[in-house]
């Protein structure tokens, strides 16, 4: 592998060490090297939000960060937050409100939504829309997604 580098990082609480080419972005590394296919890849230019991950506690675009840049970082994916039950309320609300159809955007949408849930106890629908403005959904028209996020933040 040309220019390959050794990296170590924590992924969903487990220490991981691999040799990667610098050109590999973080979401491809997670999907292809580690089999964590929950984070989706679509636009690969930072527009759609399907690859939203958490790095050192903050959400980022998995396609706009190189795996080598995550060396030494704490990475969390939708699988990790699902396993720890952190997403349980949002997942239930998405289900109850029919906030997904094809489901492609859902992992990224949940990661972006949880970022808001974690930071706010009260929020307007406009703020919700603003916070998920970087996440595309081509099925739902967003209304039900905003409903679901609002349910979790307003009613716990």
């Amino acid at each position: 592998m040309e220019h390959a580098l050794d990296i170590t990082l924590t992924v969903n609480g487990a220490q991981v060490g691999r040799r990667v080419a610098p050109r590999v972005h973080l979401v491809d590394f997670l999907r292809e090297e580690l089999g964590l296919t929950g984070s989706h890849v679509a636009c690969e230019q930072g527009v759609c939000g399907a690859c939203t991950l958490r790095v050192d506690g903050e959400i980022v675009r998995g396609c706009l960060m190189l795996a080598v840049q995550a060396n030494g970082c704490r990475v969390e994916t939708v699988e990790g937050l699902s396993d720890t039950q952190e997403l349980a309320k949002l997942q239930k609300a998405f289900h109850d409100r029919n906030a997904l159809q094809c489901g492609f955007c859902t992992p990224g949408m949940l990661m972006a939504a949880q970022d808001l849930v974690k930071k706010k106890t009260k929020v307007s629908r406009d703020e919700i829309r603003e916070h998920i403005s970087g996440n595309y959904c081509r099925c739902t028209g967003y209304q039900a997604i905003v409903d679901a996020i609002e349910d979790v933040i307003q009613h716990g």
Binding site: H3, P22, Q45, E58, E130
Partner: protein
């Protein structure tokens, strides 16, 4: 698409960065937050031999205020800028611009230095830098130099940065009592590229800096000298010559720039 192959280095001192830049010349690109560079790599619009990741340089981070001057390290992220009470107090224009920069996940990685050094005509900070009379601190092997914002932005994605130089910080005079500023932007969807935007400042001097209304951020100089809004709106037509894009003609953009001018004028005079 996927990025082409390149080498990667993460130096821990600026001296190492200068050494790598000298050795690799045009083949090297500086990687800061990567929120513009990595998409351009993924789209194969750019094919550097080497990425020099400056993300590990502690001296390029941090926000401080000293003797009425706000200093912001090149690696300060949009999110950090937006969350900073010091920025809110001393450069409210910048704090106001932050929510217009892309989306939360991008604001967590993208940096002020990266945005200024890229000089995208649609970016928010170059216009703020012009409106606030910011000074760029640029460093290279030969030492440090300071460049005023009005001399820094030279054209489309073109700055006064010379080969081998790195933008290390930006300094902004702290907003004084009685000075006012406002940031306005029109976009089709929150966080999208601006159709047109305006960073306006009113103190001893008034400055209107427009974004996405020219090859780079533009100071509407004659507009700022006018005493009435009506005169200013006329002057704006001569100050700006916005290029059309896929969705908006030059005339539309000029009209919308006038709309923002009116809003800013009213906001600054009440």
């Amino acid at each position: 698409m996927k990025a082409p192959s390149f080498a990667y280095a993460k130096p821990s001192t600026l001296a190492e960065v200068f050494e790598l830049l000298e050795k690799h010349g045009d083949g090297a690109r500086i990687l800061a937050g990567g929120q513009s560079l990595i998409p351009s790599l993924n789209m194969r619009l750019s094919a550097p031999e080497l990425l020099i990741d400056i993300g590990g340089l502690a001296e390029l981070k941090g926000i401080s205020i000293e003797r009425g001057v706000l200093r912001i390290g090149a690696l300060v992220t949009h999110a950090q800028l937006g969350a900073s009470d010091v920025v809110k107090k001393h450069a409210p224009l910048l704090a106001e611009a932050v929510p217009h920069v892309a989306h939360p996940a991008i604001r967590n990685r993208g940096t002020i230095g990266g945005s200024l050094a890229l000089a995208d005509p649609a970016a928010e900070y170059p216009a703020c830098a012009l409106a606030l009379k910011a000074v760029m601190f640029v460093e290279g092997r030969a030492g440090q130099r300071q460049v005023e914002a009005r001399h820094f932005f030279k054209g489309l994605f073109e700055t006064d940065l010379r080969p081998g130089e790195v933008l290390v910080a930006v300094e902004i005079p702290a907003q004084l009592e009685g000075e006012r500023s406002v940031f306005l932007e029109l976009a089709r969807r929150h966080g999208d590229y601006a159709i047109v935007g305006l960073a306006a400042f009113k103190g001893a001097e008034t400055r209107f800096a427009f974004l996405n209304a020219g090859p780079t951020a533009v100071l509407a100089k004659n507009t700022a000298l006018k005493k009435s809004l009506a005169e200013a709106k006329v002057a704006l037509k001569a100050d700006l010559d916005p290029p059309a894009d896929l969705y908006n003609s030059s005339a539309t953009k000029l009209h919308l720039a006038g709309v923002l001018l009116e809003r800013a004028w009213n906001a600054l005079s009440t």
